[in-house]
C-alpha cells in the first residue's frame, strides 16, 4: 500500500521544474517521481500467529462438524431384517426390502401366510 503522505513529502523535496521540456522528458520525470513508494512494514509476528490459530480453529471446527454429520449412524440407511423365524401355524414367509415409488422412503417387510383368521 502506498503511503500518500510520505509520497507527498518526498515529492515536495524535489526541485520544481522551471521550464517545460519535451513530453517524453516530462513523463520520464513523472514516472521517476511516482516510483517513490513506501515499503510495506513487515507483518508483526503476533499477527501471523493469530492467523495460524484462527485457521487451525476453523479447520478443527469443520472437521468436528463433518464427523457429527457424516458419521455412519447419521447416514440414511434402510431398516433390514437379519433373521426370521415363524410359528408352526405359518405356511410361508418372506422378507422384502421395499422402496416407495418416489424413492424417498425405504423399509423392510416380513410377510407370513397360512395363519388362521383372527378377530381383532
Amino acid at each position: 500500500m502506498t503511503d500518500w503522505t510520505t509520497l507527498q513529502q518526498e515529492l515536495k523535496k524535489q526541485a520544481p521544474r522551471t521550464s517545460a521540456g519535451s513530453p517524453e522528458a516530462f513523463w520520464q520525470d513523472f514516472s521517476a517521481r511516482a516510483r517513490l513508494t513506501v515499503q510495506e512494514p513487515a507483518p508483526q509476528p503476533h499477527h501471523s500467529r493469530s492467523a495460524l490459530w484462527t485457521s487451525l480453529a476453523m479447520a478443527g471446527a469443520v472437521a468436528l462438524l463433518t464427523l457429527i454429520l457424516w458419521s455412519p449412524s447419521a447416514a440414511a440407511e434402510a431398516t433390514r431384517v437379519t433373521s426370521l423365524e415363524v410359528g408352526p401355524s405359518c405356511t410361508g414367509s418372506m422378507i422384502l426390502n421395499v422402496v416407495s415409488k418416489d424413492g424417498r422412503n425405504t423399509g423392510a417387510v416380513v410377510w407370513v401366510s397360512g395363519l388362521e383368521e383372527t378377530y381383532d
Binding site: 471446527a61 457429527i68 433390514r80 410359528g87 422384502l96 421395499v98 422402496v99 416407495s100 416380513v110 407370513v112
Partner: protein, 141 residues
C-alpha cells in the same frame, strides 16, 4: 486486527449441534408400534400418512386403518399389548432388535432387525375380519 466474531459464532453453533445430536444417539430410543388393518378401498388413516406411500406402492392393499398403537422406549422392559389379543415382545437396542409377535399364547413371528431412522419395519400377513393385519414399527425422535 482479526475479527473473531464469525469464528466464535461458528464454534458456538458447532458446539450446540454436537450437544443436540450426540446425546440423542448415545441415549435410549423410542419405537412406535402401530397395528394396522390393510384392505381394499380408498381410505388411509391420517396417522399412517408417513408410511402410506411405501405400503401402497409395495403391498396389494390400498386402504390402511390404524387399529391400535403404542410407543415404547428401547430397550423395552415389558411386552407391548396391541389390539385385543396381540403381544409384541422387544429385546435389545434398535440396531439389533429382537421382535416376537404373539397372538394369545401362540408365537407367530420371531425376527431380528436393524432399524434405521424413518425406515419402517412391517410385519404382516395376519388375516383378520375385513382385511389383513400388519404391524408397523419405526423409530421416533
Amino acid at each position: 486486527m482479526i475479527n473473531r466474531s464469525p469464528l466464535l459464532i461458528l464454534m458456538a453453533a458447532i458446539l450446540f449441534a454436537a450437544l443436540a445430536v450426540l446425546p440423542a444417539r448415545a441415549g435410549s430410543e423410542s419405537l412406535s408400534i402401530r397395528l394396522v388393518r390393510a384392505s381394499q378401498g380408498t381410505e388411509i388413516d391420517p396417522a399412517l400418512q408417513d408410511v402410506a406411500a411405501l405400503m401402497r406402492g409395495n403391498l396389494a392393499f390400498s386402504s390402511f386403518k390404524l387399529v391400535d398403537s403404542a410407543t415404547v422406549t428401547l430397550p423395552a422392559s415389558e411386552p407391548v399389548k396391541l389390539g385385543k389379543n396381540f403381544k409384541v415382545a422387544l429385546s435389545g437396542p434398535a440396531n439389533n432388535l429382537d421382535i416376537t409377535v404373539s397372538r394369545g399364547t401362540v408365537k407367530l413371528i420371531q425376527t431380528r432387525a436393524v432399524l434405521h431412522g424413518r425406515s419402517p419395519l412391517v410385519l404382516g400377513g395376519i388375516p383378520a375380519r375385513d382385511g389383513t393385519l400388519l404391524f408397523v414399527l419405526n423409530l421416533v425422535k
